[in-house]
Symmetry: C2
Subunit: 420 residues, 2 copies
Amino acid sequence: MNIVQTMEELGQRARASARILATTDDLAKSKAIRSAATIILKQSKQILIANRRDQDAAEEADLPSAMLDRLKLNETRIESIATGLNAIADLPNPVGEVISTTERPNGLRIERVRTPLGVIGVIYESRPNVTADAGALCLKSGNAVILRGGSDSHYSSQAIHQCLIEGLRSANLPVASIQLVPTTDRAAVGEMLKGLNSNLDVLVPRGGKSLVSRVQNESRIPVFAHLDGICHVYVDREATLEMALEIVLNSKMRRPGICGAAETLLIDKSWPDQHVRELVTSLQQAGCEVRADALIRKNVDGCLAADESDWKTEYLDAIISIKLVNGLDEAIEHINQYSSHHTESIVTANDENAARFLKEIDSAILLHNASTQFADGGEFGMGAEIGIATGKMHARGPVGVEQLTCFNYRVHGSGQIRPS
Amino acid sequence: MNIVQTMEELGQRARASARILATTDDLAKSKAIRSAATIILKQSKQILIANRRDQDAAEEADLPSAMLDRLKLNETRIESIATGLNAIADLPNPVGEVISTTERPNGLRIERVRTPLGVIGVIYESRPNVTADAGALCLKSGNAVILRGGSDSHYSSQAIHQCLIEGLRSANLPVASIQLVPTTDRAAVGEMLKGLNSNLDVLVPRGGKSLVSRVQNESRIPVFAHLDGICHVYVDREATLEMALEIVLNSKMRRPGICGAAETLLIDKSWPDQHVRELVTSLQQAGCEVRADALIRKNVDGCLAADESDWKTEYLDAIISIKLVNGLDEAIEHINQYSSHHTESIVTANDENAARFLKEIDSAILLHNASTQFADGGEFGMGAEIGIATGKMHARGPVGVEQLTCFNYRVHGSGQIRPS
């Protein structure tokens, strides 16, 4: 297979499909997605056989157990893929939405209308469900998509992709609206990073840090991604122990491995020592390793020492770094220095402090009295997300169907000309 | 001067200023801009002396007269710079605007709030007024800016920049909020294209095609720009002669050299021959060179032959290419193939055709029964623009203060944690 030529052709077919999708009505897009969901359920045996093949290869290759778990499908997971597709089909159609209207003194009516972006490239690793989620989100937002799944989940992704194709067929939409790169050769990713002769408009990498950083560093086209989720919780002097306990434990321990999990806890020095002790002990009792500064270690037993590198680490595990800070100013300073600009939360009964925290920190998501684990498109009411972006261009925070669109201006006149 | 180090330091100072500007209230930003306007008027003699120096050098170097005109300042032009600054100061503050609010069933209130982008780089050529306009627009939107003016206007830009600095001082804002690259060495542009160690977030090139294409091709960071303005007017079969005459003449001849000027006229074949004759003749009588297809040349005298290259050419001059097309479908197809995705207009009394034109063409601005020369931030009610973008990422169409911002999410809770 000539990779360059294969990828070039994928790009051309995607662009041709994107032109059609841009003016396709929502009924057809939703029908394709719903049909795909039905077909996935019907074909679940075949999908599981393909997945077994991927799992066997992965076990033989001695992949780590976390990776094996991400790869694994079963009836329940297939059902939840189908449910997810139907939820995406149910979302309001973003394309064609009039975002704003301006009436000008000369009578021109200027509408800003949501339009698709064009062709989206999604590069992911072992989770086969991304094939369905990303395919459907891009289609719903009127975009063509080129999916490049990991080699570990190749057969599973192919089986799911086949169902998406059937869905597109049933709605009379171009089958190249959702394409899966037909090779696991890494050179295909290199071609996508170059933008496929301007037939690829944006890249969404989904996976580990090495994948995301390669895409961010080498891509010649825009990227929606986050490299790290070094999220902070700051417990202000006016936080109650009860709320701090609930929010800190949930932020860290509900699911320690997601990007919105807290990695560093900052506590105001003037918060009672007894409260600090209870909070840290609760984390330990919940199975969390605590790495703390000297003051905390004096106050609470069983903490490891935190050093500079801990403030820069996304553990993605049941580990947390803790530091006492000299009030809100130092908390904001620490976060703006070490944060990955993803998600931060303040626990306080003081509204002024909360307002400053939300205004002065430069991160995608800032919360007052709520868990960092709410950093999620579904929790934000977007229905589904293709990922979370920490960049500031175009998309920031959860990337849902709306963030996969742009807009144009449609100006309605009655013969207006511009005076010289 | 060590260019790499100089530019690196410029970037660091810009980033430090951007952090402060992000939370600066509008009063201070507007005060700085208004003070700068007052100082520019007071210092007009010194600015004109600096401009004389640039003009002398330009005349000696035998620069083309169009360039000399762009470079030239006089009392009137200085007054209009000051007026422009005051208009920018008067704009509503985009920063902090709550774009949308979502109430979630769990009681979380999620606000999407407008925030600055960070540090903006503006690379321009001979127009010294860009120094003031771009500086003020970036400041108003809470961004720091690094201005890199052309060597032709170096002394004029320096003199104007000095007034902006005084304005910043008078409002107690960091003087590095608006920096002018202190060298005309082209290597400075190369450094900006690399992003100044992540201390530059976006580039706005303002100038000729060679500048814009260099920036677009070599930049490692996002670019807001348009390379071409190959704008079309389509005269539908249901266009009245009267409206077609007004809109076509204004679109082409009001100012043939701006990016929103029409370059190609498409006319439905079934529009009366007599109408076509009158429209083409009017263009010729207004001093416009007409390059037309064979059918039109049979019908009207004095037209040159248009060939394939004409459909791809932005004349920026009193020249227009004209083609008869087989109805709306061919018009849309031609435009989607040859347009630079900037601005297109349809003249028709048929609302269905207009709706299709506005929906099916993939350009930043689409107009029905109005001149393409309305493609301008001021005409759109944005107050002022830093340029027009034909890309789809983040900004599209006129780039005003709003397009120089992004947003983050501010979530207000009362102790919510996420269920497992």
